[in-house]
C-alpha cells in the first residue's frame, strides 16, 4: 500500500496546458512593433546614406515637416476635403451598386452579358479614367467623383454577387416553404445571408474608392477643386520637397488604415461572431 502511495506521489504533471484567452492586445502590439522596427530601419539607413537629407529624408526629418503643415492648416484641410469626397463618393457607390447587384443576381441573362464587363472594370486601374473625366468635366468635383465611382462600384457589385452565390440552396427552399414573396425573400433571407460577401465587397470598394480618389486628386489639380491630400502630394512634387511627399504618403496610408480598423473590421467581426464564425487565424497566436 505504501509503495503505491509513493509511486503516486512521484508522478508530476509533464506539462500544464493553460488556455490562453484571446488577447485583443496581441492584434495591436504585433503590427505596431513592425511599424516601429521599419521606421527605425528607415532612420538608420537614412543616417548611413551618403545622400543629402532632403534627397533621402528619414522619418525624423519627415516628422519635422508636420508642425509647419499643421500650422498653416493645409494638412487638416486636405484630409478633411479628401475624407468628405471619399465618404460621400463611397456612399453614392453603395447606393448605386446594391440594387444593380441584386438586379444582376436575379436576371441571369443580364448577368451573363454584364457580369464579365463588371469584372473587367475591376481589373482596369481607375487612374486610366482621369484624362477622360478631365476632358468631359474639366477640373471639377465631377471629375473626382466619376473616377472614384468607377473605381468602387465594380468591387461592391462583385462582393454582393459573390455573397448571394454562396447562399445555401436550402435557404431558397425555406423561403418557398414559408411562403415568402420575391421581395420578402430578398429582404429577410437573401440580403442578410449574403452579408459576409457584401461587407467584403464594401471593404474592397472602400480601398478602391480611396485609391482612385488619390489618383484623381494627384492629376486633377486647380480649377474649382478644393485642396485634397492627393493635390498636396502633387504640391510636394512641384516643390521637390521629399519630406512633404513622404509625410503625405504616410497620411494617406494612416487614413486608409484607420477607416479599415475603426469601421470595417468591427463590422466584420460582429457579423461573423453573430453567426458563430471566426476569421481564419483570428483565435490563434
Amino acid at each position: 500500500m505504501s509503495s503505491l502511495t509513493e509511486s503516486r506521489t512521484r508522478f508530476k504533471p509533464v506539462r500544464v496546458i493553460k488556455l490562453r484567452p484571446n488577447n485583443q492586445l496581441d492584434s495591436w502590439v504585433a503590427p505596431l512593433l513592425t511599424v516601429v522596427v521599419l521606421l527605425s530601419l528607415w532612420q538608420i539607413i537614412s543616417w548611413a546614406s551618403p545622400l543629402r537629407e532632403d534627397l533621402f529624408p528619414g522619418p525624423l526629418a519627415v516628422a519635422a515637416k508636420l508642425p509647419q503643415l499643421l500650422a498653416d492648416g493645409s494638412l487638416v484641410a486636405a484630409v478633411g476635403n479628401s475624407l468628405f469626397r471619399a465618404v460621400s463618393g463611397f456612399a453614392i457607390a453603395v447606393i448605386i451598386s446594391t440594387p444593380l447587384a441584386l438586379l444582376l443576381a436575379h436576371q441571369p441573362l443580364l448577368r451573363k452579358g454584364v457580369g464579365p464587363l463588371v469584372s473587367a472594370m475591376q481589373v482596369l486601374p481607375s487612374i486610366a479614367w482621369v484624362p477622360a473625366a478631365i476632358i468631359l468635366f474639366g477640373l471639377s468635383d465631377a471629375t473626382i467623383y466619376t473616377v472614384l465611382l468607377l473605381g468602387a462600384i465594380p468591387s461592391i457589385i462583385n462582393g454582393l454577387l459573390a455573397g448571394i452565390d454562396m447562399i445555401p440552396a436550402q435557404y431558397k427552399s425555406l423561403s418557398k416553404v414559408l411562403g415568402a414573396s420575391k421581395w420578402e425573400h430578398v429582404l429577410h433571407i437573401e440580403l442578410p445571408a449574403a452579408m459576409p460577401g457584401y461587407v467584403a465587397g464594401l471593404r474592397q470598394g472602400w480601398a478602391f474608392a480611396w485609391r482612385s480618389l488619390m489618383a484623381a486628386e494627384l492629376i486633377a489639380v486647380g480649377g474649382s477643386l478644393a485642396l485634397g491630400v492627393g493635390s498636396l502630394l502633387q504640391r510636394g512634387r512641384d516643390l521637390a520637397d521629399l519630406p512633404l511627399v513622404m509625410l503625405v504618403i504616410l497620411t494617406i496610408l494612416l487614413v486608409g488604415v484607420l477607416i479599415e480598423l475603426l469601421f470595417f473590421a468591427p463590422i466584420e467581426r460582429k457579423l461573423l461572431r453573430d453567426r458563430g464564425m471566426t476569421r481564419t487565424g483570428e483565435n490563434y497566436g
Binding site: 416553404v177 414559408l178 453567426r275
Partner: protein, 247 residues
Amino acid sequence: MGVRLNEVSLSYPGTGLVIDRLSAEIEDGEFIAVLGASGCGKSSLLNMIAGLLPPSSGWLEVPEDGAAFMFQDANLLPWLTASENVDLALKLAGKPAPERQQRVEELLNLVQLGHASGKKPHELSGGMRQRVALARALAQDRQVLLMDEPFAALDAITRDMLHEQLRALWRQTGKTIIFVTHNVREAIRLSGRILVLSSHPGRILETRRITGELRNNPAEAAALADELTTILRKEQRKHELTDRISN
C-alpha cells in the same frame, strides 16, 4: 383533407427515374412514415408534396394552403435568434406584430425552449436547433407537416426525447404528419402507418399499419423491425449491384 398522390413520377435529367408511378392516400390527421434506404427518392417525394419540385407526370392533391416543412439539418437562419427564426414564419404568413410575439413564446414553450429564445443557432445543441425548427414549422399553422429525416443527425437520447415530444404534439394538434426516415425503429415508434419505398426508382414496396398494441409489445415491434430491415437491406444491395453494373 389529407394528401393524395396519383401515379406520381419524378425524373431528373442525368439520373433518370427517381420515383415511379407512386400512388398513396394519406388521411387527414394521420401520422405516416415513409421508410426507405438512402437515395431511394423519399426526400424528393417530400419536396414534391411541399411544392418545391414539380412531378414529371401524375398529379398530387395537397391542402390549398400547402404544407409546413421541417428540414433534415434544421435550416435555421444563423443571424437570427431562436425566437426571431420562429417569428419569421409568422411574419411571412402575414400575422400582425403584437399577436406574433405571444405566439412565438407559446411555440417555444411548446417545444420546451422558452428559456433559449434569445440564443443564436450556433449557441444551441443539435437537438435544440431541431426543436426550434419544429416550432417554426408549427408556426406556419398548416394542417400538413412534412418532416425530412429531422432527427437523423441527433444522438440516441435526444432523439428518444424528441420522439416523445413529437407524438405528444401530434396527439395535441391532430396534424397530418408525413415523416421520412431510413430508421426502421423510428418509423415503428412514431407512425400509424409505414410506407416502405424501393430504391431506384422509388415505388411502394410494402404498407404496414402500426397499432398501439404492436408499438407497446417489444417482441412484436422487434420482429417487425427485423422484417423491415431485411427488406431495406435487400433493396440497398440491389441498388448497389445496379450501380456497380452501370459503372
